[in-house]
Symmetry: C2
């Protein structure tokens, strides 16, 4: 049995749900509410000491870290493969997923919290509750960063660099994508599935025009979001409409500042 | 044909040479001298836009990033495998190599340059040459960090955190290693091969006692450095004795400061 401990709008969870759907694997949902600090419970920390989602549990054995979970799903359920057959192409696929782990994910956290989600914290929590959530984050670097982002928002010193990193991601994808094709080789792979939630997040923040301005990327985005697996993994019960509305609204308010950063 | 663009004392190159030796693969050496800025030549940047070593070129096709090169060698030459057969164990192996990419490599650069190698720069280069080398580093984050480390040395604000991260690495290894065994499963894997150069670097900096204090780690270290593949990859023509002497000398001078950081 496959169980997925996840959250509706987590980019890393979206990625794993997408691969599960593409591979047509059945799984049981264990949805974790950050609001109720479920991911910091002793039971969950025993599975995932970092206190982050997702965690995949396969017949009782946990696998953590979304990039590693994707490789695991390929190793354990390789019949329909989303890793290229050619070894050099597989290395190129891993250069994309490594970028997510190295810089793109962190940049997306900075942009998501700094522009969008910091307001949610203040709306639905008392300061005491915010402190309690932040103090529960096991990794000290993330704990400090999240607090700074909630406090400083768009004045956070990392915001401009994070926006530029995501612009670079869009440029790199535009440069790598052939019209009608995929990031690596001639089929959809873990590279495409891995990058998608980060592109979508910019769309949710009302920056869809940055996608539309890049024709190969726009074509790719249209094709990948038209797949049944996308609908299963991202829409239906997993689309948190309130969260998306907040991102859209705050992204629109931040638009001038963001465009100034990107033009600098 | 396999060609390896590498450097004698680069931890990432040591790791790849070790795996090549364990797999008994023949390769041609393309040794790159940082001193002569060979890794920033247009020809090399065409292979590896990051201007770092190693790069593996297999029948003319380049593969970059040492963690990805190791996975590539397994994908392309899987007869003698250094990835565990069990998929969950393979995920556990990747949790170790991901730590290298996430934090351990950066911490090791901080410690190596901040304590040891900054003095080499001043000894063998004019300030103009140092500027020229540093200005050639393509990645702006590394460019700034290296300059700061050369300028501030042990006063660099990241040094204490880097030392603590490496201490955590030793503790995690001690906790994971069974006496007489390996980091994952019952055979040597890319996890062991990946961690080794980072443990050895601490030994070269005169902190072998931090290894000796941890019995399972000390036992592992003795066994892995007794292997023929270790001698092929790390010793003989690839041991830069001047570099090691500098590390030993500067590590000894920094000893009190380091132990204060680790005890804090």
């Amino acid at each position: 049995m496959l169980e997925l401990f996840h959250n509706d709008m987590s980019v890393c969870a979206q990625k794993v749900r997408h691969l599960l759907a593409e591979k047509e694997l059945q799984w049981e949902s264990r949805h974790m509410s950050l609001r109720h600090k479920e991911q910091f419970s002793p039971q969950y920390l025993a599975l995932n000491p970092n206190g982050v989602v997702p965690t995949l549990v396969h017949d009782g054995r946990p696998v953590i870290e979304s990039t590693i979970i994707c490789e695991y799903l390929e190793d354990a359920f390789g019949e329909t493969s989303f890793r290229p057959a050619d070894s050099v192409d597989r290395a190129r696929m891993r250069l994309w997923t490594k970028q997510l782990d190295d810089t793109i994910h962190a940049a997306t956290v900075v942009v998501t919290v700094g522009i969008g989600i910091r307001h949610q914290y203040a709306e639905i929590h008392t300061q005491e509750e915010i402190d309690e959530i932040l103090d529960s984050v096991p990794n000290p670097k993330w704990r400090v960063l999240k607090r700074q982002l909630i406090e400083s928002g768009m004045n956070h010193p990392d915001l401009a660099g994070a926006l530029l990193r995501l612009q670079q991601m869009l440029d790199d994808m535009e440069g790598a994508l052939p019209m009608g094709g995929w990031l690596v080789g001639d089929a959809i792979s873990i590279a495409d599935i891995g990058l998608l939630p980060y592109v979508l997040r910019l769309d949710h923040l009302n920056f869809g025009d940055l996608i539309e301005q890049r024709p190969n990327l726009a074509d790719w985005y249209g094709r990948i979001t038209a797949r049944d697996a996308f609908k299963e993994a991202y829409l239906n019960q997993w689309l948190n409409e309130k969260y998306v509305r907040d991102l859209q609204e705050k992204g629109a308010e931040a638009r001038d500042m963001v465009l100034r950063c990107l033009a600098a």
